[in-house]
């Protein structure tokens, strides 16, 4: 099956999540092709997992003053600070049947595409179940997957640069999580592409693209008008709403 690849683009948090869900619906209805998209978050944003509490995880006052958007994802997993210039996010949305049946195995497959991309710029990364990618034992990429109506959606981020001060300021890091891993700080367990390569953000995108499309039939494309309209609707009605973002 031919993939559509939507090249690196920037949207706000609400539209980014709206596009992912619009594509889930489009593939469910047979009107959208399997799609790989790459994007950044403009303005910078925090996304939280489906089951997290916004107020527990995020310093929303600080976000407001820094003009950082806060959004709840459709997928589980943890809170992520998406710095506009500090990372690249991807989404893979495709019929479930194109992937291994097991969720854990399909994480491994798609994370393998990220790992292949990083390898092209000389970064030796490895998959760390359940949903992380590590370089020298430090997390460089977090990933989250959902499946509904026969469609798989996996999105994930690859850290390029890391504004640790801002990240610390906007996320409430849980003591339990840190103590379990016997580490003192987030700084010690997270890394970034710039620590291992002097590639530009655009260069990282090219590397990831090559890793994702390897061995696939694909063409570069864009959203259809229908997809764009539905994504905007979801952005406004769901992802910008307090009911959704503060539901836990």
């Amino acid at each position: 099956m031919e993939w559509r690849v939507i090249e690196l683009e920037s949207h706000d948090a609400y539209l980014n999540m709206g596009i992912d869900e619009a594509l889930l619906e489009g593939i469910r209805d047979g009107t959208s092709p399997p799609t790989i998209r790459f994007y950044t978050w403009k303005p910078s944003a925090v996304s939280i997992g489906r089951f997290q509490s916004m107020n527990d995880e995020v310093n929303t006052e600080r976000c407001k003053s820094l003009e950082i958007d806060c959004v709840r994802r459709i997928t589980g997993g943890g809170a992520v600070y998406h710095d506009q210039k500090g990372e690249i996010t991807y989404s893979v949305i495709a019929p479930e049947k194109m992937f291994p049946e097991g969720i854990r195995e399909s994480y491994r497959e798609i994370c393998g595409w990220v790992i292949n991309g990083l390898a092209t710029i000389g970064i030796d990364a490895e998959f760390a179940p359940i949903n992380d990618i590590l370089v020298k034992g430090k997390k460089i990429s977090g990933n989250a997957q959902t499946r509904r109506n026969g469609v798989l959606l996996q999105h994930g981020t690859i850290l390029y640069d890391l504004d640790i001060r801002t990240m610390f300021g906007v996320l409430n890091i849980s003591r339990e999580k840190i103590s379990d891993k016997m580490i003192k700080s987030v700084e010690e367990r997270v890394t970034r592409v710039l620590n291992y390569s002097n590639v530009t953000q655009e260069g990282l995108y090219s590397a990831l693209l090559s890793g994702f499309v390897r061995g696939k039939d694909y063409k570069i494309g864009r959203l259809t008008e229908t997809e764009e309209k539905r994504a905007n609707e979801l952005s406004e009605s769901v992802y910008k709403s307090k009911e959704w973002n503060f539901s836990r």
Partner: protein, 101 residues
């Protein structure tokens, strides 16, 4: 009474529970960075815990969660029925202790 507790599941994710109770559990919220498929099924898990007695043994509570997960075909990743049950119990204990204090 109200209580809350957090627990990092060994080899898994963080789970956070908030309960309101008075002999039995009147309100419960299960939160955390785990994965549950389908995501909407979290409400079935929460419902299976609602109205249970606060002195129900932990393993019975875990069995209750496990049964609903099986009947509703819920896949849990990074969290287990046992971890949810033990965090619920911890939240109840925390609530009772802070009430005594």
């Amino acid at each position: 009474m109200r209580g809350s507790a957090k627990k990092k599941v060994t080899g898994g994710k963080l789970i956070s529970i908030r309960v309101e109770f008075n002999g039995s559990i009147d309100k419960i919220e299960i939160m955390g960075d785990f994965f549950l498929h389908p995501e909407e099924s979290i409400s079935y898990i929460e419902e299976s815990i609602l109205n249970t007695r606060t002195d129900e043994p932990e393993d019975a509570l875990a069995q209750r969660i496990s049964n609903v997960a099986e009947s509703k075909k819920i896949e849990m990743i990074g969290v287990t029925p046992e971890a949810i049950a033990s965090t619920v119990k911890m939240a109840i204990r925390n609530g009772m202790e802070s009430n005594r204090a």
